[in-house]
Every structure is written in C-alpha cells, then in structure tokens.
Amino acid sequence: MTMQIADSVSLSAPDAKARAHAAAARNNLRTEPRAVRIVIIALAMIFLGVFVVLPLVVVFAQAFSKGILAYLAALADPEALSAIRLTLVVAAISVGLNLVFGLVAAWAIAKFEFPGKTFLITLIDLPFSVSPVISGLVFVLLFGAQGYFGGWLRDHDIQILFAVPGIALATTFVTFPFVARALIPLMQEQGTQEEEAAISLGASGLQTFFRVTLPNIKWGVLYGVLLCNARAMGEFGAVSVVSGHIRGETNTMPLLVEILYNEYQFVAAFAIASLLAMLALITLIAKTVLENHLDEGHDASDH
C-alpha cells in the first residue's frame, strides 16, 4: 500500500510508462486484424468514390469539355439566364413563405397544447411522403383549366398554372417541412420558461419573441432555410408537372438541364448542372458549420 502511494507520487518516469500501457490497452480493444480493417475502409472509400465523387467530377468535366469559353457562353445564353432568374425568384418566394409558415407551425406545436396537435405534426411531414409528381398533379387538379378553380381563374384572367405562381406554389408545398422540422424539436427542448421569465420581467409579446425566442432558435432557422433553399432550387418532379416547359419563360434550372440534355447539348446541360452542383457543395459546407453552432446551442441549454 505504502509502496503504491510512493510510486504514484514520484514524478515523470513512471508517468510515461503508464501512458505506454494505456496506449497498448487501447490497441488491444480493436479486436479486428489489420487486414480486415483495411478491407472495410477500402470498400467504404471505393463506394463513396464511384457513387458520390465520380458523378460530381463528371459534371464539371463535361461542363468544361469544350473549354471555359464554351462554358461561359452556355451560361450567358438567354434561355439559361432566364432559367437561373426564375429559379432564384421561385426559391426566394417559397423559402420566404416556408420561413413564416414553419416558424408559426413550430411555435404553435412547441409552445401550446391543443387538440389535433399530433395530427398537425403528421400533416407537416406529408410533402416528404408524397411523390413530388403527385404534388404537382394536385395543383393541376386545383388550378388547371378542368380543375376546381380553373373556370373562375380563367374568368378573372389569372394565370397560375404554367406560370410563376404555379411553380412557386408547387415548390412551396414540396419544401414546406424543412423549416418546421428543424425548429419543432429545438423549441420543444427549450420549453417555455425563458418566455415566461421575459413576460414576468415586463416584456411584451413582440419583445419576448424578438429578444428571447428568436435568438434562441436562430441557428435552427438558418439550418431549415438552408435545406429548404437547396431543395427549392433543385426541385424537378412537382415543378415539371406545373411548369408547362415554356422556353425562356417557365423553365427552372433543373428542367432546362433535362431539355438541353435531350437535345444533345451536353456542354450547356452540364454547365447549368455544374451551378446546381456548386449550390449543393456550398449547402453542404454551410450545413456543417450550422450543425456545429446547433450543437453549441444544445450544450448551452444543458442546465
């Protein structure tokens, strides 16, 4: 007993030995032989390479296959510019709407008790579980010439289908869950105590929202907006059904990629595709950064 105490008190040399022992023990915990480890890691790498990295490389390789001038010319084409503009407009509208809807829905679900709450939570996920093509068809059924509101819309000279409003509506529907989904668990975890504290300190409803609620969920909001935006810009199925594919008018970037490809204009198709791929890469990086912030938020809330 006395020996042991003396040992642990004496300095550096036994310390280094203890560390070596600990390292050896850690190695022993990995039971798989070296060869198996290498095979498993190699398989994962090859799979990722073929299915993820290679397609990405091919997109850029094809886009630049006729040189950078051809690439730039393809992007400067009026049809391409119109598609980029339309995609940005539609994304701005649907992200804006879903930001408001998502905040309201998450607020209602996380902070209040009301009948039908579980049903509402399930309903929010509906756009995820329905095929985008069906989502698009629903809007044709509602607003098409033969649809429920078709006659009334024609009488009042309002164009929804095969125009920007229809594309924005379909995109909004498909991307609805992102913001709400990002916020509900976060707000549920945070509870209502900070809001109660703010109100008992004399804050009004708006002051409470802007000074307490919103700062607490800001990273969650950005996260939801980011994913929502990525999906809104990349959406194909639902938009394809409602857009009508009018060149230079109702073609979004994903639709234009398909059309150009079918017309054997590979450089142009992959040039537009390369923009979408870059969007994906930027989204991925931003997502990683935001996730770090979200984790910090969780730690801070760990009272």
Binding site: E194, E196, A197, I199, S200, R211, A300
Partner: protein, 345 residues
C-alpha cells in the same frame, strides 16, 4: 404589499391542483409553501405570478384585483426552479433585461441601467461574472443571477419556485442563510415553494403546509412542528412514529393491547397516534405506555436509532440518547413524552 387569496380552485383535466385555497400574506413576510409534489404549491405560486389562471376564486394585491392584470403588469419577481436564464445573453444582459424592455416613456437611460445592474450584481456578490454566459456558471451562481434579474424590476412581490431544489446540499445550506439575510435587507413580501421541511422551517417567518390542493396548516415554524394541526402535518414535518389505534370506552388500544394513556375527550373509533422519534423515552420493562423488543440498533452521532417490535404488533423506530446502551434482544418499556391522536385512518 399584502396578498390575499380567496377560495382558489384550479383543475388540470380531472386533477384538482387547487381545491379551495384561502391565504393572506402580510407586507414584508417571508412565507414558505411546503408540501409534497402534486400538493398544488407551485400552481398557487404561478397563479399569484400571473403565469397560470384559476378556474375560480380571487387574488388581490393590497386589495386590488390581481387577476384583472397579466403577468406583465403585475410587477412580480419570479425565480424559476431551473432559473430560466436567457442562455444567449451575458449575465449583465440577463439582469438588465427587465430594465431594457420597459416602455420608452419610463425607460431609464443606459448609464442608469448600467449602474443599477452593477448594484444588483454587487448585492448578489457576483459582479465579477458580468460578462459570462449562463452556461459558464455553477448552479448556485445561476440561482443568484436569477434572483438579481427578478429584483431588477423592483418587484412588489418576490416569488421563488423551489429556489434551492437543483443545488447540492452544501450550496443549498449557504444559500438558505443568504436568502434570509437578503430578505432582511430588501424586505419585499416574498413567497417560496419547497418540498424540503428543513428549508421551510429554517428560512421562513411563516409556513403554509399544503396537501392535495388544500392548506393543512398555516403557522410559524415552531407552530407547525410543535403543534401540528392535522395527521398529515404531523407525518410530513419532522420524523414521526405513526400507530393505528382504536379508541373505545375511554381506552386506547394498539391491536389487542390497551395502552396506559389517557383517552379523555377523544372520539371513539379508529384513530392514529403520532409521536416524534425522540419523544419516546426508554425505561425498564413494565414501565411506560408501550412495551417492546429491540430488533436492531444503529448509532447516529449523539443518538442511537433502535427498531423496536411493540407488543400489539407494530414495529417502530425510536431515537434514544446514548447514555443507556440498547442491545438487540432487550425488552424495554416506552413512554411517549408528548403525543397527539388524530381521528380517522
């Protein structure tokens, strides 16, 4: 500020959280609401704060109807059980919050706000933490910042929900003493909720004992300990021995054994007899009201705690001084120095 609560009823679904509560709190009091969980004490506190609304009943502050006002207008400082500090604000901004959200017409200028926050942080002895975030503080520090934040609005009433509930035993003891002296200093009418009897008896001027949405007893700490009004209070406060007894024809029986205790003025029928553990005096066999055999003995500092099987069929624990050592197997007589009998089972 005096607070008066009349016939307050609050239901959550079919559960009656408050079942007709009447309470009067005097100006400058430090009052404890004491009860087991589910007794309605926190609900009562939240209704006084305006964070919950009763189904019926009245709450008045200085005679004015408080239920006509929302939490925002009541000017009540509330300290939450888990502090509810604003996690994205520094300690300084947390304390300043109540001053910054005041309507522009009465809002103080920045220099005044800074001076006031500094003063409050000095009061809770944490001015050196002004730039930290809540997640960087210990439990006891968060607790004191929550109190400083509540005091910033110069509340008419201070309400504290389980203020020491989430702290470890040592910090809890320190903070208790500190809270009492702080109350002495600022002298604002205060109510705190606790399930810890020691806390209630040590800190409060007056204790309200609650159970199942009703008030069982209101009194000074001495009152509720020395003269419990109901069986519940006797059982809940202090360590009590509880024995089921029968009273018939002027005799108290434990099982089939008559006890040598006076039954004057007691209603016949099934009742419960309560004695404090340390009020059972040990004597030779044949002396005293009870007789029993010692089963186990353990020493706790100045006392020995003995498990005694009474003749009559109950096993009790008593605390006896250590001047006369008890041993397992001893037969002893027991005489309650003080006891109380409550009718009913």
């Amino acid at each position: 500020m005096t607070i008066e609560v009349r016939n307050l009823v609050k239901k959550f679904g079919s559960f009656k959280a408050l079942d007709g509560v009447d309470l009067k709190v005097d100006n400058g009091e430090l009052l404890a609401l004491l009860g087991p969980s589910g007794s309605g004490k926190t609900t009562l506190l939240r209704i006084i704060a305006g964070l919950d609304w009763p189904d019926s009943g009245e709450v008045t502050f200085n005679g004015e109807d408080a239920l006509a006002q929302g939490a925002r207008e009541r000017h009540v400082g509330f300290v939450f059980q888990h502090y509810a500090l604003f996690r994205h604000m520094t300690v300084f901004e947390n304390v300043a919050f109540g001053l910054r959200v005041q309507p522009r017409a009465i809002r103080k200028d920045e220099a005044t706000i800074r001076a006031r926050v500094k003063e409050l942080l000095d009061l809770v002895q944490l001015d050196w933490l002004a730039d930290r975030y809540p997640s960087q503080l210990s439990g006891g520090q968060r607790q004191r910042i929550a109190l400083a934040r509540a005091l910033a609005i110069e509340p008419r009433i201070l309400l504290l929900d389980e203020p020491f509930g989430a702290l470890d035993a040592k910090v809890r003891k320190e903070l208790r003493r500190w809270l009492r002296s702080l109350h002495h200093e600022i002298n604002v009418t205060s109510i705190f909720v606790t399930h810890d009897q020691e806390e209630a008896l040590e800190v409060a001027n007056r204790v309200v004992v609650m159970d199942k949405g009703r008030i069982e007893q209101i009194g000074s700490p001495d009152d509720v300990y020395e003269t419990p009004a109901t069986a519940f209070v006797h059982g809940f406060i202090g360590e009590s021995i509880e024995l089921p007894v029968q009273i018939e024809a002027g005799v108290i029986r434990l099982g089939d054994r008559p006890l040598r205790l006076a039954a004057d003025g007691l209603a016949p029928g099934a009742s419960r007899l309560f004695v404090r553990r340390h009020d059972m005096l040990v004597g030779p066999p044949g002396s005293g009201a009870f007789e029993g055999a010692v089963q186990h003995v353990r020493n706790f500092g100045p006392v020995q705690r003995a498990e005694v099987a009474l003749s009559g069929g109950e096993t009790i624990e008593i605390d006896a001084p250590r001047d006369r050592e008890l041993r397992a197997g001893d037969t002893i007589g027991l005489e309650p120095r003080r006891y109380r009998i409550f009718a009913g089972v």
